[in-house]
Symmetry: C3
Subunit: 258 residues, 3 copies
């Protein structure tokens, strides 16, 4: 498993993993790319979550980003390379999502900066989202000629209501932290410099609870929606593949890459 | 198809249809009856939606009402005529609803005035609802001795929460625009005179997006709920038919018509 | 049925039942135990609801508590007695829940004081919740080494949103009345001394509506969720039984009883 966080040299770690006080902190660590998800990062997050789910001493996981971004979403250079979909190998996104959809422990997000695409659509998979005052979110699927991912077609209406979800997906506004809280995408807004401390303090309080009861409770919450989430993602994947490479998608990517 | 909007003489059009800039504007046009739905109007809206779904140049549809009402709901004179249900012909309501439940493009409502019955219960089928400051809504099913329609038994709790839905259905308050926005029935409140311009401006921004991606996204959102919506409506239809003509329903209609 | 409310002597009634003006008022009446649910109380509430569902003259039911508590939840002395689960007899909780999940008439709660455990998780089964300014709520399942009950794993996210539900279940804060209203657990906050009057006035307005239409509407609302609610409770029951008597649960109960 060459992508495991401990394997590459330290200056090449796409994901930082730090365990303390019952909490695992995962830091997306491609700051030069605003932590965009490339294949290695998808798999590194997946592996770190699977490992966390088996550890008796970890009761809560926190996800954040290094540098000024949370995550810029799927690496567009890989989206442009449609051969990644055609080749039949499992894309990292498809490896991470089932793990995320069934992750059996409380998962918190500390949204430290810009979150685009999966940087927004991952939030309904997190149990409690804290957001830096200066952070902002955007879901540019329609304008890129594609459509939703990560079961956002189900989870976004469930989280922020149908009308706000429609507005967000059909007009693609930047959502600042205050608006994210008003919508219910974020649970709490925190001054930028305090974000990680506040999130970790909350995570430690959760991590101190009896872990079997945390696991039972989180698993029960997920059980009520997981089949619908998987079905939504399967529908989305089919539409996404159909639209990737379409004229509108090609034009958008060409405009992006110049 | 004698009810198609282009067929009747201009002074007899129950629905006005205007296409421009990627947007189809549908105006319910029975102002003398506060745009109550009679058989012709149900079918005219259905036909205009079906046609809009096939038009590559239309990315968004707006529904509004002519005059001072949005819609007063089902025409009560037809509800009183229970033979319409007994005769076996497809009532217009049952023709429109499946089209609405699966309408594959963004649908906006500009609630210009009073919305009663379906004038309220149609709103959870719209993706974004803008409401004039002076408009107001009401769902008088229980007091009329009948029950919910248009899958409101499912979609009203989903849209405004169980408790607000229960309060609205069991006590039948008038809901003004500010309250409709607070509840989540309306996305935005707009001064009466600006309502249509503001709604059309939003619709044009949506209509300028790649239509295949709009269709894929709206269709994915609907796919997550459409079976539940259809099942709810089937249950409602059965209860409605059972209660139409019941003593409470007859007494209410007699009181209404004097 | 020795637990029926009319059987025990008046000074031993665990549930007070009063019918007037189309409304049945149920008062949990173990004030010395903050109205904790023992076996007799579970069955008494169940019986009173079943009876109310068959009475043509009752259109609405109100649930409240005697004294300074709403309900302290499941009687912990019975939770500690794991033989109650092992013996195979139907625990009162399992007798009440199916009745509550399908109760066909509007059910209001007047939360007069502290609500713990089922005192919180029963609220999403009530249609409209009014709460005294001085009341407060808490869901201590995880810290007791067990997990959710009463389908809270489904209904709490549905009622207050996933993130607030996660925060409430994983950190177990006291929720005061203003916060309960903000979350959507309570529909309205009322001064303590006015709570019952305000609730009964609302209940009488509902009870004056045509009862067959109230029943049809409430039943339609429930039909959209009842299978999911039952499935969630079945999953919870299995987890609860697995965790009762676990080291974390035993330690918590020993700490509680000293």
């Amino acid at each position: 498993m060459p992508d495991a966080p401990s394997d590459p040299p330290a200056d090449d770690q796409v994901l930082l993993v730090a365990d303390a006080d019952g909490v695992r902190l995962l830091t997306l660590n491609r700051p030069q790319a605003l932590n965009a998800f490339n294949q290695r990062l998808w798999h590194a997050v997946k592996d770190a979550l699977i490992d966390a789910s088996t550890r008796d001493d970890i009761g809560c996981v926190v996800l954040t980003g290094a540098g000024r971004g949370f995550t810029a979403g799927q690496d567009l250079s890989e989206m442009a390379d449609t051969s990644a979909f055609a080749a039949g190998e499992e894309p990292g996104y498809r490896a991470l999502m089932p793990v995320l959809e069934s992750f059996p422990k409380p998962l918190l997000a500390a949204v430290n900066g810009v979150g685009v695409g999966i940087g927004l659509t991952i939030l309904p998979h997190c149990d409690i989202v804290l957001m830096a005052e200066g952070a902002r979110l955007k879901a540019p699927f329609v304008s890129l000629g594609v459509t939703t991912e990560a079961s956002a077609s189900l989870l976004l209406p469930a989280t922020i209501g149908w009308q706000e979800a429609a507005h967000l997906l059909f007009t693609e506004p930047w959502v600042d932290a205050a608006e994210a809280q008003r919508l219910g995408l974020a649970w709490k807004v925190v001054p930028d410099e305090a974000l990680l401390d506040v999130t970790l303090e909350l995570a430690r309080r959760i991590g101190a609870m009896p872990v079997p009861s945390l696991v039972a409770t989180k698993t029960l919450m997920l059980a009520a929606r997981v089949e619908a989430v998987k079905a939504a993602r399967a529908r989305e994947d089919a539409e996404f593949e159909r639209l990737v490479g379409s004229p509108a998608n090609q034009a958008a990517l060409e405009a992006f890459f110049g």
